[in-house]
């Protein structure tokens, strides 16, 4: 009698524990990213707040420094069998990790919410490398912005922002004649590559697509590429100041914002820096698409996205669905992008509200214009097109070219093609 009662009580206890285990399955996640501080860290904190408000348990692992450190942690975790539920990944890396078979598909959620209809078409092959949704895009950054200091332009007699590269060169000559530096710049592999890909895109859209998106060797060696290097050499030797090597990013932006230099070629994350320093993008700092020789709206895009890895714990699986859903809501896209300076990856978010500045509205308008004109491309310098091994080879040559006054354009084009070929 005693034993049966004991067994019954134990059995009931175990059963209730098991049942309560199911009842308490709450979505949780551990988001691995490189955004640990400043406006980036604040933006991710907002995502955490939304996640908790929707009943989830939020945890974020932020690895400071270069993206490479985050990738190293991801690789270590995956090899140890402990893949993170959500990781910040972008570009060809999504496809590479998809090949390993460890990524989780979000197709059900995507179909239910209609992601295919609202996300920019150029992003779809990146988020769906094999046809199923493995990544959720958080934002769209624009690379090909030209920033200008209005006061410097007025003083030099430049009436309007240059539309083509010939206009740009003429404006620069005027600014130099008025005693200022024309183009603020800092020489690092990514900044040299950003400026160069803007030049290539502006001069020849086909060349950009063939050379930087397909890594076509003939395009890399072509006379058009040599012409692009010529323009780059003109800019480095005449329009930039000699101390570009080793300069800080902040020092370069401030050069333009404070009126020592007229122009600055950088993506839209500069908005965050300018706002923090008290400038008004759109007012005293002008923004316009970087010069193009073919006269239509152009857009080089860079998108941050979140990739989900398959998990065994049902809490994490629920958390992934919740996180993916939240990332694609208009609310999150608005809050996140307002603080980060980019524009939403959903094309149907309205930017006419207060939190957006005129440059962001221009960015969205140009994105839509560029999609219609079929001039939308992804950025090589910011790791959205070719594999890292090719991108690294290209960036090495470009930055060496910028810093070697005696390297000819033909030399540079051939070396870039050779370096890419070695990795094939």
């Amino acid at each position: 009698m005693k034993t049966t009662t004991k067994r019954a009580v134990l059995g009931a206890a175990v059963l209730s524990l098991g049942l309560s285990g199911f009842a308490w399955a709450e979505p949780k996640t551990n988001f691995l990213s490189q955004w640990d501080s400043g406006s980036d860290g604040a933006s991710i904190a907002k995502l955490g707040e939304m996640f908790e408000a929707n009943g989830g348990k939020w945890q974020a692992t932020s690895i400071a420094g270069h993206t490479a450190n985050t990738l190293a942690k991801l690789r270590a975790d995956v090899v140890a069998g402990n893949a993170p539920p959500a990781v910040q990944l972008k570009g060809p890396e999504i496809a590479e990790w998809n090949e390993t078979g460890m990524t989780a598909a979000m197709d059900d959620l995507a179909e239910k919410e209609g992601w295919d209809d609202v996300v920019a078409p150029e992003l779809l092959p990146v988020m769906k490398p094999k046809g199923s949704w493995v990544a959720a895009p958080m934002n769209i950054h624009r690379i090909n912005w030209l920033w200008a200091n209005k006061a410097v332009l007025d003083a030099a007699g430049v009436k309007e922002m240059p539309k083509t590269w010939a206009d740009f060169n003429a404006a620069c000559d005027k600014i130099i004649a008025s005693g200022k530096i024309c183009l603020a710049h800092l020489s690092a592999d990514w900044t040299d590559a950003t400026t160069f890909e803007t030049v290539v895109y502006g001069q020849d859209l086909d060349l950009f697509r063939k050379a930087f998106m397909d890594a076509d060797l003939d395009a890399l060696r072509s006379p058009e590429m040599i012409k692009a290097f010529d323009q780059m050499r003109l800019m480095v030797s005449k329009y930039m100041d000699p101390e570009i090597a080793g300069r800080d990013y902040d020092a370069a932006i401030n050069m333009m914002a404070n009126g020592e230099a007229g122009f600055f070629l950088m993506g839209d994350w500069a908005i965050g820096n300018l706002k923090a320093a008290g400038f008004k993008p759109g007012d005293d700092i002008l923004c316009q698409q970087a010069p193009t020789d073919w006269g239509k709206p152009g857009f080089i895009l860079n998108a941050d996205s979140v990739v989900f890895f398959t998990q065994k714990d049902p809490d994490y699986i629920e958390g992934q669905t919740l996180l993916a859903h939240l990332i694609m809501t208009k609310d999150f896209q608005t809050i996140f992008n307002q603080s980060k300076g980019s524009i939403p990856s959903r094309l149907d978010v309205d930017l006419s509200g207060d939190g957006w500045n005129p440059c962001q509205r221009q960015s969205q308008a140009d994105l839509k214009g560029s999609i219609e004109a079929d001039t939308l491309v992804r950025s090589m310098a910011h790791n959205m097109t070719v594999l890292q091994k090719y991108r690294g080879a290209m960036m090495d040559t470009i930055t060496e070219f910028v810093n070697s006054p005696d390297m000819s354009s033909e030399d540079a084009a051939n070396r870039m093609a050779d370096a890419v070929e070695e990795q094939m």
Binding site: H66, T67, A68, N69, L71, A72, R75, V78, V79, E96, W97, T100, S187, A188, D189, P242, E243, I244, A245, G246, R247, A251, L387, Q388, K389, G392, A393, D396, T399, E400, F401, V402, N403, S404, R415, A419, E422, Q423
Partner: protein, 313 residues
Amino acid sequence: MQTSVSAVPAATTAERGSLRAWLSAHTPQLVLAPSLLGTFVYVFLFSAWTLYISMTDSTLLPSYNFIGLDAYVRLWSNHRWQVAYTNLFFFGTFYVAGSMAVGLMLAILLDQRIRAESLWRTIYLYPLAVSFVVTGTVWAWLLHPTTGFEDLAHRLGWASFKFNWIIDRHKALYAIVITGFWHASGFCMVLFLAGLRSVDQDLIKAAQIDGASMGRIYRRVILPAMRPISIAVMVVLLQYAIKTFDLVLALTNGGPGISTVVPAIIVYDFMFQRGLIAQGAAAAIMILCALAVVLVPYALWLTWRRNRGAVHD
């Protein structure tokens, strides 16, 4: 006759006794065994694993398909790697030789029985306590013409002063070497000072009686007696030089362009950033070869000297 006091049979006592005796005779080996095993695994086994991986087709994640020396061929045809490997030899030579020279000079000066010697020792040794990243960042500001020495000289009125090595791609490596001197010469100084103080006083007195000047005494008596310390310092500095990574990253980030990259940066880049693990492993093995090029002849020379000395005895 009394054999043993305990009631245990004599055979077991003898066994136990021999086990205890064996244990006590081999205590040092047993205590060291775990560390030795750890060192063996970490140094030899993992180096062998790296060597194997460098001959496979690993890209994003390690794979074990052997394909031969393809990674080495690709590595050596990479222009950035060629620059890095040349930089390693230049940087290593100047860094080791320069730090030892500066350290020796400081040690000789400190050896002159000056006042507040321990204060000076602390000041010169302090840079070693600063991490490479902080050293690199601060010296980057100091050496850049717009924020450092050149700017200071210009503001003081010396308008034609030029010190822009760090943005000149031919001279940036020497700027890094100077920073390396600043960091490591304190360490050399301390060891050399100990060496100087440990030279037998009788030798020096004998030389003084023979009428040698102080300079001559230093050159002919004291410095040769310090050879073992010099070798120790050289080996430690070499391993600092070979694994230089954060100093270069913080100072110039491999720039201007790619003129100051070092092999450690390339290994990290290939392995973690570019998903080329096989080539990264090949680069690591080449760094090991660079070290071997220096240390293997030295080990052979030491053995040859020892054998020659034994013969003469």
